[in-house]
């Protein structure tokens, strides 16, 4: 059923429509925006008959199947009901918002966010996978944040939006934890698998945890006590947003989750207690606080909280009939609350105020709107012949059948009646205070009826209130039946949707509530006076104070940890590394029981001595920089000799040549860095760093020793065995580089090239910082290019180039190869720079080094790509032997081309680094051609 995907996808694409049509006239843009959700609604209508006949439709788009991740949708009765609410009311909101938004508001932004929100809601109700449901769940939090903060220039909108995001985001995290636990216990996230395993889950020891986590998600979203306070603060949103989010969608997502999880989680005593108590508290608190609001939307907000509590309470009661009543009330509440919000928006829009202390007697100015609002409020109050009455009757009837609280069970119907009384009172206030009760006081403008089409959505919804109220079975009977079937996951209980059940207890409760409610309203002065004496609680302020305290705390620690001091970071890094290594080292046991140790000889003792002395001297002379440079180069030479000693000629060659370029580089660096260095560290710092360094040295040395003595499990035997037959070379190290691990090498020369380019970029337009003398104040030597060096270097150049060619070609079978050859060539050319100067070299060598780097990387890559032409994977090597007259047998291998790329890159990169740095002292400094 690919249509399921389209239902979600169309509004998502639709979020772009208002942006693309932003230049059209407002009406056309709104019309274009409505088209895609309308198409989605047509799909829903097309699929509806199948759902009504009892089918559940699925659509699955596999993604990462090994992890059980796929795009998975389902359409059952419950989804269908919500689809109608989301799309139906959504379309009415689009029409309404067209007239509500002023010229100053960006309609494109508003509709874009609205469509995004609609997509998220559709995704929640259609998801067949819990993780996927959660992703859409979070999307509603984010898109509702954008919608609530639509008027972001207002502080209350920003704060309200942030509060909503934080509360629902917190719930979202709890829900994710709950979902992950469910997946862990039941082995799947697919709803059709999970929902049938209620027994397994409820027997599991984690069930209470899962239940609490999932309920936290649902309760925060549907603004249940004690998380209810975000909803009234979200009223700073534009009214179409409130009408949509707080009647049919956002808060109903929490209710939807309760309904969706009902077959899985409901039925236990824990469920009953938590859901019922939360629902009942929310019902009463919401209804009570609604009475004291002076803001029209505030009244409606608290009334919404109260009604959400009612629905939650019904789900908590746990009987089949209660669940049916809950579903029915979802429909009814969405219809009358959306129309009431829109009516409030019209009043605000046409009179300039939402304050009920100013709004009086509007009947004479806007009779039609007044009538519509009064019908909707009557439905909210549960007046007979309207839809709100029917579900309220079912609610009353269900409260009478509860026995779980034992002898206290009578409390439930009594409290329900109290809540209904309060509900009647605030509905009466909405009607009487706004439309009658004298004349308007100090309104900014004279109220009048809204534009014709702004009222249409209200008319449609109020008509539905009446139609459902008069003929419930015809209008919503089928929908209610399939939705309830989906929630109960079993046969439906017997219920009757007629308006008259005879004179029974629920009817008496209704009559009582209506009478008491009216009485309460007209005597509200006493209640208001009582309420005024209570200390005022401002949840927004309280919340902000707490959040700011948290932020301050985080900032303090952030500054403490992230102090922008590199030394401190490095210190912690080394300390942590040492600590992490100490423990496993301790577990490794003694060294001696493994491989026999080779006896040390005099040569090695000498090497160790020299290396240690030179290393320590480097540290001690670090303020005499040239001396420390000499010392460290001794260390490098000893390392080279160690490579020679232990049968690694390739390494020795490479280390030796890198040593040369490194020292040249550091000497150049010395020229540009300060020569005089004062003692910067105090004794305490030195002792601390010395201790850390010693610990690191001991740990790394021991680790290395342990590693050398460990019995060797080598994978190198594979390379030794296959080097000749697979790679065609006797020098295994070189074959590994250019063949077995050729892809790594390609990556490495690319890094080399990038580093060289980065250096070039860093050197362009460098402000010069040259000193005219050395640390002792001596002038630089005037003889820049000594004769002797110039002569020798000239003679050396062809020789060195010849050697590098030789090393390059023998690399496949004997020590050598592209890396070493490249370094030798580079050193030969650098020697020319040193001996003859930049100008002299420039005249004779017009090569651009970055082209050399590019050519090198390109050649190596193309060698790899070429194997595709033969239908082989990237970088497959080829070699063969040929007989040539005079030369005898020669070998040709694709690895030579690859090595050539390595060679060119190394030459280019090394020269680019050193030559450019050297040029800084002359007038041939690298400059950015585009800027200079």
């Amino acid at each position: 059923m690919i249509e399921l995907l389209f239902i979600v996808l169309f509004p998502l694409i639709g979020s772009l429509v208002p942006v693309l049509t932003a230049r059209w006239s407002r009406s056309y843009s709104a019309l274009a925006t409505a088209l895609l959700p309308l198409a989605a609604l047509v799909f829903v209508l097309q699929l509806a008959p199948a759902v009504f006949s009892g089918e559940t439709l699925f659509y699955k788009l596999p993604w990462v199947e090994a992890l059980g991740l796929s795009l998975s949708f389902r359409l059952d009765g419950l989804s269908l009901l919500f689809l109608f609410l989301i799309l139906g009311i959504g379309l009415l909101i689009i029409l309404y918002a067209r007239y509500y938004l002023s010229e100053k508001d960006s309609m494109a932004r508003f509709y874009g966010f609205l469509m995004l929100f609609m997509t998220a809601m559709l995704g929640i109700v259609l998801s067949n996978n819990l993780l996927q449901l959660w992703v859409f769940w979070e999307l509603t939090s984010i898109s509702s944040f954008l919608l609530i903060s639509f008027w972001w220039h207002r502080a209350d909108a920003r704060l309200g939006a942030r509060m909503a995001l934080m509360i629902t985001g917190f719930g979202g995290l709890a829900l994710l934890a709950g979902i992950l636990l469910i997946g862990n216990v039941l082995g799947s996230f697919e709803l059709d698998v999970v929902l049938s395993q209620a027994d397994v889950l409820q027997q599991h020891s984690l069930y209470p945890v899962i239940l609490i986590l999932v309920l936290l998600g649902a309760f925060t979203k549907s603004a249940q006590f004690p998380f209810h306070f975000w909803l009234p603060n979200a009223m700073s949103a534009p009214t179409p947003v409130s009408a949509y989010l707080h009647s049919a969608t956002m808060v109903k997502a929490g209710i939807f989750l309760l309904a969706r999880m009902y077959p899985l989680l409901a039925g236990s005593d824990l469920w009953f207690l938590m859901v019922t108590i939360t629902g009942m508290t929310t019902l009463l608190v919401g209804a009570y606080l609604a009475l004291f609001q002076h803001d029209l939307k505030g009244l409606l907000a608290y009334s919404t909280i109260s009604h959400l509590g009612l629905i939650t309470l019904l789900f908590g009661l746990g009987t089949d009939l209660a669940a049916v009543a809950a579903i029915f009330h979802i429909i009814n509440h969405a219809i009358f609350k959306a129309s009431l919000f829109m009516a409030a928006g019209i009043i605000d829009h046409e009179s300039g105020s939402r304050d009920m202390r100013k709004l009086n007697g509007l009947w004479q100015f806007m009779p039609v709107t007044a009538t519509l609002a009064m019908v909707a409020s009557a439905s909210m109050a549960g007046v007979p012949l309207l839809n709100g009455f029917l579900s309220k009757e079912m609610f009353f009837a269900e409260t009478l059948h509860q026995e779980v609280l034992g002898a206290l069970s009578w409390l439930i119907p009594v409290l329900a009646t109290v809540a209904a009384t309060l509900s009647v009172a605030y509905s009466a206030r909405f009607i009487h205070d706004v439309f009658f009760n004298g004349q308007p006081k100090g309104l900014p403008r004279t109220p009048h009826e809204p534009p014709r089409y702004m009222r249409v959505p209200v008319e449609v919804l109020v008509a539905l209130c009446i139609l459902v109220g008069l003929a419930p079975a015809y209008i919503v009977g089928d929908l209610l039946a399939v939705a309830s079937t989906a929630v109960l996951a079993g046969p439906l209980p017997l219920y009757s949707l007629s308006i008259w059940h005879g004179v029974n207890l629920p009817l008496m409760m209704s009559v009582l509530a209506l009478t008491l409610g009216i009485v309460l309203y007209f005597n509200r002065k006493h209640l208001f006076r009582f309420q005024a004496e209570l200390p005022e609680l401002n949840p927004l302020q309280f919340f902000e104070v707490k959040i700011n305290a948290l932020l301050g705390f985080a900032k303090k620690w952030h500054h403490r940890i992230e102090s922008a001091a590199l030394q401190r970071y490095l210190m912690w890094m080394f300390v942590i590394v040492a600590i992490l290594l100490i423990w496993p080292l301790q577990q490794m046991g003694e060294f001696t029981r493994h491989n026999a140790v080779q006896a040390p000889d005099t040569l090695m003792f000498a090497a160790t001595f020299v290396a240690a002395i030179a290393a320590i001297a480097t540290v001690l002379c670090q303020r005499q920089r040239l001396l420390s440079l000499v010392m460290i180069s001794i260390v490098g030479l000893v390392v080279t000799l160690i490579f020679v000693r232990f049968s690694a000629p390739d390494l020795a060659l490479t280390q030796l040549s890198v040593e040369v370029v490194t020292i040249v580089l550091l000497m150049l660096a010395l020229f540009f860095l300060p020569h005089k260095i004062s003692r910067a560290s105090n004794a305490g710092r030195l002792i601390r760093d010395g201790a850390i360094a010693s610990i690191c040295g001991v740990v790394i040395g021991s680790l290395s020793y342990a590693l050398m003595l460990e019995p060797q499990q080598r994978i190198s035997d594979f390379f030794l065995a296959n080097s000749k037959i697979g790679g065609g070379g006797y020098n295994v190290v070189n074959v590994i580089l250019v063949d077995f691990r050729g892809f790594d090498t390609l990556g490495e020369i690319t890094v080399l090239g990038i580093a060289a380019l980065g250096i070039f970029k860093l050197l362009t337009r460098l402000p010069l910082f040259r000193s005219s003398s050395d640390a002792q104040g001596r002038q630089w030597a005037l003889d820049k290019h000594p004769m002797l060096l110039a002569v020798v270097s000239q003679a050396l150049l062809p020789l060195a180039l010849l050697v590098s060619v030789y090393i390059f070609f023998r690399g496949h079978n004997l020590p050598g190869g592209g890396f070493v050859a490249g370094l030798v060539t580079a050193i030969a050319i650098i020697l020319q720079y040193v001996a003859q100067g930049v100008d002299w070299v420039r005249e004779r060598l017009t090569l651009e080094y970055h082209r050399l780097v590019a050519a090198g990387v390109l050649i190596s890559t193309l060698t790899g790509v070429a194997s595709w032409a033969f239908g082989r994977p990237f970088l497959t090597s080829w070699f063969d032997y040929f007989q040539l007259p005079l030369f005898g047998e020669i070998e040709l291998a694709s690895a030579i081309a690859f090595d050539l790329g390595v060679y060119l890159t190394v030459v280019g990169a090394t020269l680019m680094i050193l030559a450019n740095l050297g040029k800084m002292t002359t007038e041939h400094r690298p400059v950015n051609k585009g800027q200079s």
Binding site: T608, I632, V639, S704, S723
Partner: protein, 118 residues
């Protein structure tokens, strides 16, 4: 033999870490260079120390472990590139910020007098 190499690695690491913890860029450069010596030796020695064995096939019966050698060979070259980048970065930092402290600014208060000399 193994113990001596391990001692060299330990001493080099110790000196390198100490240098890296200094406040001036040049010392950090020296430290990193020395640390790469230590790391290269470490990786190389993990393949076992063999004296006088063949580095290429068909020379002797026994061979040195080629894999750590191949790893270290590229590590040497990359290490050079990294050091070079760091060197130029410090030169640039000194030129743009006017000092060679690793944080780009000299410590305030008690060290002001020393900072003025650089």
């Amino acid at each position: 033999m193994e113990l001596l190499v391990a001692i060299i690695i330990g001493v080099l690491t110790c000196c390198a870490v100490f240098l890296i913890l200094r406040a001036r860029t040049f010392a950090v450069m020296l430290g990193l260079t020395m640390l790469s010596y230590a790391v290269n030796l470490f990786i190389f020695s993990s393949g076992g120390l063999k004296i006088g064995v063949g580095a290429v096939l068909n020379a002797t019966e026994e061979y040195a472990d080629p894999l750590p050698q191949a790893l270290v060979l590229t590590a040497i070259v990359i290490g050079f590139a990294m050091t070079a980048f760091l060197v130029v970065l410090s030169i640039r930092a000194r030129a743009d910020l006017g000092n060679d402290h690793v944080d780009g600014k000299l410590p305030v208060a008690k060290n002001t007098r020393q900072g003025a000399s650089s």
